[in-house]
């Protein structure tokens, strides 16, 4: 299990630094995101069901969660590598956090790396839906706690 050692803000700053190395080159950025996507461990087939699909994404995105020792663990997959790459960034930031941390998280890295301009408005909306769904799970766990 992932236990987060850095703060949400620190991880986001790490991501921004990684993307800075790409010098804003569009093609390199897309290739890098796809590589991240290919590195994301695939989701067990049994979770790839309609109930786990996130609404509002153009591509298919499945999201499941676990709640272990007060921390939320996300697992996710998609049928496209670019979307998987975007998810993997969110997982890197939010996995292993308490529900309250996730609910309060200010996710600024997406704007800072200029992702909106790279992936276009439709996918950006999909990205917003992913965040919403992750926060929604966190809210549900915090209510249970």
């Amino acid at each position: 299990m992932t236990v987060a050692t850095k703060s949400i803000e620190e991880v986001q700053n790490d991501i921004i630094e990684d993307f800075d190395l790409l010098d804003g080159d569009r093609e390199s950025t897309i290739f890098y995101i796809m590589e991240l996507g290919q590195e994301l461990p695939p989701l067990d087939e049994k979770f790839m069901v309609d109930e786990n699909l996130i609404k509002g994404c153009q591509s298919k995105v499945w999201l499941t969660t676990d709640f272990i020792d007060g921390k939320v663990i996300f697992q996710s997959d998609s049928n496209t590598d670019i979307t998987k790459g975007l998810i993997s960034l969110l997982i890197r930031v939010l996995n292993g956090r308490s529900p309250q941390e996730i609910i309060n998280a200010d996710l600024f890295f997406f704007d800072k790396i200029g992702m909106n301009g790279v992936i276009g408005s439709q996918r950006s909306n999909g990205f917003a839906s992913m965040i919403k769904q992750m926060k929604f799970y966190a809210l549900a766990y915090s209510a249970k706690n």
Binding site: R26, E27, I30, F31, M34, Q38, Q58, S59, N79, T80, D81, I82, T83, I119, G120
Partner: protein, 406 residues
Amino acid sequence: MIDVEQLRSEFPILSTEVNGHPLVYFDNAATNQKPKVVTDALTEYYDGYNSNVHRGAHALADKATQEFERTRELIKDFINSPKTEQVIFTKGTTEGINLVANTFGRANITEGDEIIVSTMEHHSNIVPWQMIAQEKGAVVRPIPITDEGEIIFEEFEKMLSDKVKIVSVVHASNALGTINPIEKIIEKAHEVGAKVLVDGAQSAAHLPIDVQQLNCDFFVTSAHKMFGPTGMGFLYGKEDILNDMPPFLGGGEMIKEVSFDGTTFNTLPYKFEAGTPNIADTVAFAKALEFINKYGKENIAAHEIALLEYATEKLTSEIPSAKIIGQAKNKVSVLSFVIENIHNYDIGMMLDARGIAVRTGHHCTQPLMARYNLEGTVRASFSVYNTFEEVDKFIEALKRIVKMFG
């Protein structure tokens, strides 16, 4: 032979850059680009003689009406319609099909009747028929197709009976490129008394269209796929059928006389043209038709097919993990394909990063995608202004993508 470089210079957009690269526009089946004569015509109309048509008795109205009607004349010749009145302006293919479904369909389709379409139809040639079928208790039946993407003609023949009121098929498929044997389909459908609508969205600018020789009952298309403006198109229909059809929209221009005791309708084509029409785009469409006539449709098609063959050969030989969807013998210049292990959206985005515009996804043909068990394809569609060098760039970009992610 067309001088492609010279022709390209008529299209300002072709010398723009996208994402730091010269634009390579391969999304022509969605909409093609406009030569400057067409966009100039829009400003000339608004700046020079903007006025409502058929109404005002003044010089501008007269000029607007003349230009507007001149487009109808040009269309008449373009498709060899017997009469000008048989050309009805619409906002495109979709409206043309809806008009026929709502008027001819509503008047002639009854419970238990059948409407035949094909598996490769665009949603706009499925949904209007489903709507009328549901209202009337009729059924919509698709003609099956082969793995190569061709209509199975024997199956179509078996589907024919006196229950079939209309056969509505695409002339050339936007998702596969397949050119359907429309003459044979029309002939067979007429034998059982069915009428035939031809969806000419992908054929009007690429294939010879002679509605009298085809003997189709309806032909619909969109101007924006013919170098013309968006939101503009036309419906051709046989005169007696159009005369028998009830009107579609009610309003100004489509009436002869209105009183609260009853209303009489105008004659063709005005009966189907309620309200102030899209005058500017209609006028500009004339310039698009003249553009096609100037270069010659056969010459345009010859260049497009050469590009298709070149791209098909290169894709097949240089990217073995690509699979072409749509391998009919007769095709318009549409190259649809999938690549193993890489999603079509991702390919589209990576090509876009290099300024190459293609379409990805289901192309508004979900039943067709289901037939091939696909979520979507990558579609490159070529127009007369595209070049062999552009195809090379496209193949190079794909090779790079496959090398990294395939």
